[in-house]
């Protein structure tokens, strides 16, 4: 059991170690400032992965994450530009993310569209809505504290890393506890493990799915706000394909696309592995295609190792 939990960490350690040696200047690769950079680059994928972990454990999938991030970053940017108070704008962005998730959930439960298709549809709808809302251009925002959320080197030095990183960390802990120690979490696992059995055990599966997709949507909304904060503008074309990074993070961290398995801790480690990889490749000076090949290989490898381990454990 502990091997399962530690597996992803070992992978992360290995990646960091290898790249520290390969960059030729381990001091720099392992420095606090590089850590800050990697963490603030991971923040968005990590927030997405928190929501996605919930969804994947419940046996679903959400392909609309990238579009949702773009939409919420545009909505928040528009609200800020119309000089709404930053806290209201931020909340508005998160809520829009939650609403997108709710619509996904409704399509899945009421219209009986499988999650893959429902969210594939939303991938287009949310992206289009973002472009429409932004008037097909980027939305610049006035400087507010929202811009400081994802800054690599925070103004308040005692924070050490970006406030957004701390927020992501706290939320990750919160959801991890939610999954492990609450009835809601238990039901999420039950739903993903065997939906028919969950229903026969008296779980309102449809209602539960609505909650899961909405809650995950809130996380995607927050990721959108962080994206805005990183770029200081709402860009409707941003985050194309982020859903694949997010899914990869969850899968590297031990999530199973057939449901019933996964952990927040694993997903966070998965997100970090990918960020350290990209960061390392760039610092070595390897071309993009090498990064792409390595990350692709790692996804397959991580899942294969996981399956082997499961096989080993059961025999």
């Amino acid at each position: 059991m502990w091997l399962r939990t530690l597996g992803p960490f070992a992978g992360l350690g290995l990646v960091v170690l290898i790249f520290a040696l390969l960059t030729g200047s381990p001091g720099k690769y392992l420095s606090i400032s590089n850590l800050r950079i990697v963490l603030s680059q991971t923040m968005i994928v990590a927030l997405g992965a928190i929501g996605m972990t919930l969804i994947i454990i419940s046996g679903g999938i959400d392909l609309s994450v990238g579009s949702n991030i773009a939409l919420t970053s545009v909505v928040t940017a528009l609200a800020l530009r119309h000089s709404w108070p930053p806290s209201v704008a931020l909340l508005g962005g998160i809520i829009v993310g939650g609403l997108v998730g709710l619509v996904n959930g409704l399509a899945i439960t009421s219209l009986r569209v499988v999650p893959f298709i429902a969210t594939l549809g939303m991938l287009g709808i949310a992206r289009g809505a973002a472009k429409w809302a932004a008037g097909e251009q980027t939305v610049n925002v006035p400087p507010t504290w929202v811009n400081e959320l994802a800054v690599t080197f925070p103004k308040q030095r005692w924070l050490i890393v970006a406030p957004g990183v701390w927020i992501a960390l706290l939320l990750a802990i919160f959801v991890a506890v939610l999954l492990q120690n609450t009835i809601f979490g238990r039901h999420v696992f039950a739903l993903g493990s065997n939906e028919a059995a969950a229903r026969a055990c008296g779980i309102y599966t449809a209602r539960l799915k609505l909650w899961i997709y909405s809650l995950a949507g809130l996380f995607f909304g927050l990721a959108g706000v962080m994206q805005l904060s990183r770029l200081r503008q709402g860009d409707p074309t941003v985050a194309v394909g982020v859903e694949l990074d997010v899914i990869a993070a969850v899968v590297i961290g031990g999530g199973s696309l057939t449901g019933g398995e996964g952990s927040i801790l694993g997903s966070m480690v998965g997100a970090l592995i990918m960020a350290f990889l990209r960061n390392g490749c760039q610092q070595i000076g390897w071309p993009n295609y090498i990064q792409e090949i390595i990350i692709g290989g790692i996804i397959v490898l991580a899942v294969a190792v996981d399956r082997l381990r499961a096989l080993h454990a059961s025999s």
């Binding site: 960059t23 400032s33 603030s40 503008q233 860009d235 760039q282």
Partner: protein, 378 residues
């Protein structure tokens, strides 16, 4: 890369003060007349072509005047303008320019509808191919195209020609003989301008980074090439620590790439160059985040509101700007000339200029940096 070099070399038009005084919204003829340049290596061609446009435009005017008075009816053209994207200011300037051309020509009694449509996803050449293909069946008279890729768009353009629809390429080169004309900034020269400024500001020595834009984009490759070659030939004591990393399609990817590079080389370098809007924006954000903005010489390409602010704050020492507004305007007008059966030159330079904190507020720069978008994008 080699290919890109060859291509840009073919189209090597040097000019120093490109936009002296042609930014007033005057009729195209007047602006072209005022388009005087200092003679340099190959300036003959550009002067020729500008004069040519003048001639063509004048001819067109008279022709339409004649048409109008003769028959009281006017000819109608539909021209598709296909940019690489639609959200960035650069593309909006092209759009505004194209609309201006349409209005100008309407004033001459020539009805020209401009259909503006970009690819759905901005970093996807396949999508742009589809947009062009989609237009082939829509009964248009011509295409003004800013190709995403120098090769991927060749096939649709050749197919368009076979269907009797001519194409004019703007902004970024296309490897095809089937285009009527190619209007672009002299990107190679833009890179050289940046290199010159860099060399000057660093007094000929130091260490510099260049972050490339994206694989396969001809215009930015030319800028990178110009920068690199000029640095090597004129400032041999400046070392380039890294010039093989790509910023990617968006600000976000650019910011990440810049952060990663700066972590590695940040404390060694004195200068940095980025070849387009998104890479400049991303790098600027990265420099601001690590408090390095203003501590090194940072030169970018293309303009946007945040860049001007950064220049005033001393975080950005210079940008090379193009004239996208003119690309759009001239693109459409050249197409109309061609459709009217007038010969048009194969290549037309729309100019590049260096903007620095010093000349930021000069009237010429203002005109260039703030094209009348609102006036034409309604």
């Amino acid at each position: 890369m080699l290919d890109g070099t060859v291509h840009t070399r073919l189209y090597e038009i040097k000019s120093v003060k490109v936009f002296s005084d042609r930014s007033q919204a005057t009729p195209v003829a007047a602006r072209n007349l005022a388009h005087a340049r200092k003679p340099r290596k190959k300036r003959m061609s550009i002067v020729k072509c500008n004069r040519f446009i003048l001639v063509v435009s004048l001819a067109a005017m008279s022709l339409f005047a004649a048409c109008k008075s003769d028959k009281g009816s006017s000819k109608h053209f539909t021209i598709a303008v296909v940019p690489q994207g639609s959200t960035h200011e650069f593309w909006k300037s092209i759009h505004a320019g194209a609309n201006k051309a349409s209005r100008d020509l309407a004033g001459l009694g020539l009805e020209v509808s401009v259909l503006w449509k970009g690819p759905l996803r901005e970093d996807d050449r396949e999508q742009q191919v589809q947009v062009v293909e989609g237009f082939l069946s829509q009964g248009i008279n011509g295409i003004v195209l800013a190709p995403f890729d120098r090769r991927a768009l060749v096939r649709p353009v050749e197919e368009a020609k076979r269907a009797g629809i001519p194409t004019i390429v703007i902004d970024s080169a296309l490897d095809s003989d089937d285009v009527v004309s190619f209007l672009a900034s002299d990107n190679y020269h833009g890179g050289e301008l940046a290199a010159d400024l860099m060399g000057k500001l660093l007094a000929g020595k130091g260490k510099v980074l260049m972050l490339r834009y994206q694989e396969g984009s001809a215009s930015t490759e030319a800028r990178e090439q110009g920068f690199l070659e000029k640095m090597k030939s004129s400032y041999p004591n400046i070392a380039l620590l890294s010039s093989n990393q790509y910023a990617g399609a968006t600000r976000d990817t650019a910011k990440r790439a810049a952060e990663n590079l700066l972590n590695r080389y940040g404390d060694q370098i004195q200068g940095m160059f980025t070849p387009n809007e998104s890479s400049t924006a991303g790098t600027l954000l990265a420099l601001e985040d690590i408090n390095k903005a203003g501590k090194i010489v940072f030169l970018g390409f293309d303009s946007s509101e945040p860049f001007l602010k950064a220049m005033r704050e001393g975080k950005l020492q210079g940008i090379v700007v193009q004239n996208p507004f003119r690309m759009g305007e001239w693109g459409v007008k050249t197409m109309v000339d061609h459709l009217l059966g007038r010969p048009v030159p194969k290549k037309i330079d729309t100019g590049v200029q260096l903007i620095t904190p010093e000349n930021l507020d000069s009237p010429e720069s203002r005109q260039l940096l703030h094209p009348p978008l609102d006036q034409y994008l309604k």
